[in-house]
Symmetry: C2
């Protein structure tokens, strides 16, 4: 066989990461802008090829850090996308992950292979490369449904926060408004928060009580 022949299988495995945050009251997702053809200038989820001895989750974390600067993220597996035509450059199946993270104190930076990295509101996404429109739809749907039976929303918040801030996260992700009194009733019934005694002052209105989580870990709940 000539040395130019490809490996017996041309099938490759990639990982992609759909990283969400809530910022300015909107659900946003982290995208990088491609530099090389044929996707020049298009946006995509951070992603890359799986290496031999790493898990897909490790690969997603490695690639996420390299391409965006984001680290220390709790990723959940979303789904595996395997349309043979999803990448014009060859057969690549992609194991996609997703996460919800805080965007404050976050320094984004990418490599010279990409033009840019930034948050995009999910309601105004640019055209995406590969089958990433599809991945985006599935990820958003999954994030919403996860919101209803876990405390995943809380991973987006800083240590101290007001109940209104918590509610804003839910409203942004679910894309609908919630009743303030009912929301507070439910949250307080869960008894997972503790009052810090401190208040958010400075605004031209009554200061909000600040809360924190009794423990900061994933919990299955029943909210909506």
């Amino acid at each position: 066989m000539p040395k130019t022949s490809p490996s017996p299988s041309t099938l490759r495995v990639a990982v992609d990461a759909a990283i969400f945050t809530v910022h300015d009251g909107e659900l946003q997702v982290l995208l990088i802008q491609m530099r090389k053809k044929p996707f020049e200038d298009q946006w995509a989820f951070p992603g890359g090829i799986l290496e031999d001895q790493e898990t897909t989750e490790q690969a997603a974390k490695r690639i996420l850090l390299a391409q965006t600067g984001v680290q220390n993220v709790y990723l959940e597996q979303l789904m595996t996308f395997d349309d043979p035509a999803r990448d014009v450059l060859g057969r690549v199946i992609s194991v996609a992950y997703y996460a919800l993270i805080p965007s404050h104190d976050l320094q984004l930076h990418t490599t010279e292979r990409y033009k840019d990295v930034r948050w995009w509101p999910v309601k105004k996404l640019p055209p995406l490369a590969y089958d990433h429109e599809h991945i985006a739809k599935v990820a958003i749907q999954r994030l919403r449904s996860k919101l209803e039976y876990t405390n995943i929303a809380w991973s987006v918040l800083p240590k101290e926060f007001s109940l209104t801030e918590l509610q804003t996260i839910y409203e942004a992700i679910l894309d609908r408004s919630l009743d303030k009194r009912n929301f507070r009733k439910k949250i307080q019934a869960l008894a997972l928060l503790k009052d810090t005694g401190r208040r958010r002052t400075g605004a031209t209105n009554r200061p909000a009580l600040l809360y924190e989580f009794k423990q900061r870990k994933p919990v299955i709940i029943n909210l909506f």
Copy 2:
């Protein structure tokens, strides 16, 4: 590089299928018995290597038919399993699928590569090859949760069935008993069944009315 160097990637992609049924009032799963070392005599889900131009779902169907004789199954993607140590023979990541099917009128047969194929009650599984114990746990959990918000249970029933038969399916999968009156109330509230006017006669008790589905397709419901 010397020409003896292996292909750039030794990573392979497999698919596995966890096929469930309810039989004798028990949730059962379809397993094949391995013949070749190092898994001689151990049981495993039907599975095999993904080919270049097929989707993972197509592969799962192809392999399921070849290894068990089962066909015409509506498969759902379960999860991708990627522990680098999950297969002692090399790095293989597996995209697992699952389904719930009727077991009546089903002729199981496998190939000479396997010793046997049969249904196993999920409560009394034999030792499984690879990481299939893990896949089994995840699949059963997913099947249960799917049961609570879809009509997936119905895919296990023949054209005509009694309400008690339907209830038995739910009880077998959820592994708990349900109240007969409440169960019937919920089912009838969904208005997805129609009375065929026929009855199940022959038993030494009052004959049950037989029902069928108005339409036989997947529906999102809210049962439990």
